[in-house]
């Protein structure tokens, strides 16, 4: 349910860029989806096939690059991968704070013909 409206937004944005480029059809959409974006790639793919029907995006491949969340240590400044139930820096034991890495949710590019 959650991914349905957002997938129509993906079809809309990709379609607008393809039309601007006077393309006949979109063959691939390159998406970047952070694990903390709240959106599930498989679910977007499922809706995409339905929502792209009859549009310039119909039949396009959806390529999703996932991004794992990273924390930044408030003591030593290192970036490190978030693991469940912990904010501890593996290098110095300090506390890691959230960053924007892992929250991405954008269309990087489209491939058209």
């Amino acid at each position: 349910m959650h991914e349905y409206p957002i997938t129509s937004q993906i079809v809309k944005i990709a379609g607008e860029y393809a039309q601007k480029a006077q393309a006949a059809r979109v063959v691939k959409i390159n998406l970047v989806v952070g694990d903390y974006s709240g959106f599930i790639g498989d679910s977007i793919s499922m809706y995409f096939d339905i929502l792209s029907e009859g549009t310039i995006c119909e039949g396009a491949e959806l390529s999703i690059r996932k991004v794992h969340p990273m924390l930044r240590c408030r003591s030593c400044g290192d970036l490190f991968k978030k693991v469940p139930f912990s904010f501890e820096c593996p290098k110095c034991g300090g506390e890691g704070g959230p960053t924007e890495i892992g929250k991405e949710f954008y269309i990087e590019s489209i491939e058209v013909e």
Binding site: I13, Y17, V27, F85, G96, F105, E108
Partner: protein, 224 residues
């Protein structure tokens, strides 16, 4: 076979939602209305907390937009208390978004300066991902949900500008580890205030109301 061409897009998929949210935010700011996006799990006591906050407001007029999947029970409660309230039923959608709130603000038509509380759908996940035009996100967590919530739902705690820990009167009867809760919350969010309250007894809400009133009055001072 025709040639394939790559076009750079780099466009945020939330872009349109964010644009509409910004318009609503600007409109509310102009009208002197401080908008609070109230988030929390089902049963956290969102409506009860809003009522307790409103009872403790001394200087500003409250308005409410109620978001529910179905029913207008909460709106009936608020309306009975004389609070101008508009109900949104999402019919299944798990969060409120900016277009819904733009339309609801039009319908509610708040006509004086004050605070607009928007009660989001009961859910600790999706509401945190969508801006709706608010000046602030207020998260309601409860001791009965357990002390691990900041670890399991980090985005909601990270995005919150203030957190209410409701049902605190039940603390002696359940295994709620306040230190563990606070440690996780502070790792995600070093700044936002944490208020321990009970919507059942009303304890702690005068501080929440005072804090919100200061924010609301700050909005109008900044504008005037």
């Amino acid at each position: 076979m025709s040639e394939t061409k790559k076009i750079e897009v780099m466009e945020n998929i939330h872009g349109e939602n964010e644009r509409i949210a910004l318009e609503t935010n600007q409109r509310l700011t102009e009208a002197g209305i401080f908008c609070v996006n109230v988030m929390g799990a089902p049963g956290a006591g969102k409506t009860s907390s809003i009522i307790q906050i409103i009872k403790n407001l001394k200087h500003v007029t409250p308005f409410v937009i109620e978001g529910d999947i179905e029913s207008d029970l909460d709106t009936q409660t608020l309306t009975r208390l004389g609070i101008k309230t508009f109900q949104i039923n999402t019919g299944g959608a798990c969060h409120l978004d900016a277009p819904l709130i733009r339309d609801a603000v039009n319908m509610l038509a708040p006509n004086k300066k004050g605070i607009l509380f928007i009660e989001n759908i009961g859910n600790l996940v999706c509401p945190a991902e969508f801006v709706i035009g608010e000046h602030m996100k207020l998260l309601i967590s409860t001791v009965t949900e357990g002390s691990d919530k900041p670890y399991k739902y980090p985005l909601a705690f990270e995005k919150a500008d203030g957190v209410i820990l409701n049902k605190s009167d039940l603390m002696p009867y359940i295994d709620f580890d306040l230190d563990f809760f606070t440690k996780g919350f502070r790792a995600l969010n070093p700044q936002a205030p944490l208020f321990k309250v009970s919507a059942k007894t009303g304890d702690g809400f005068s501080q929440v109301a005072q804090w919100l009133e200061e924010k609301a009055m700050g909005l109008n001072e900044a504008k005037d």
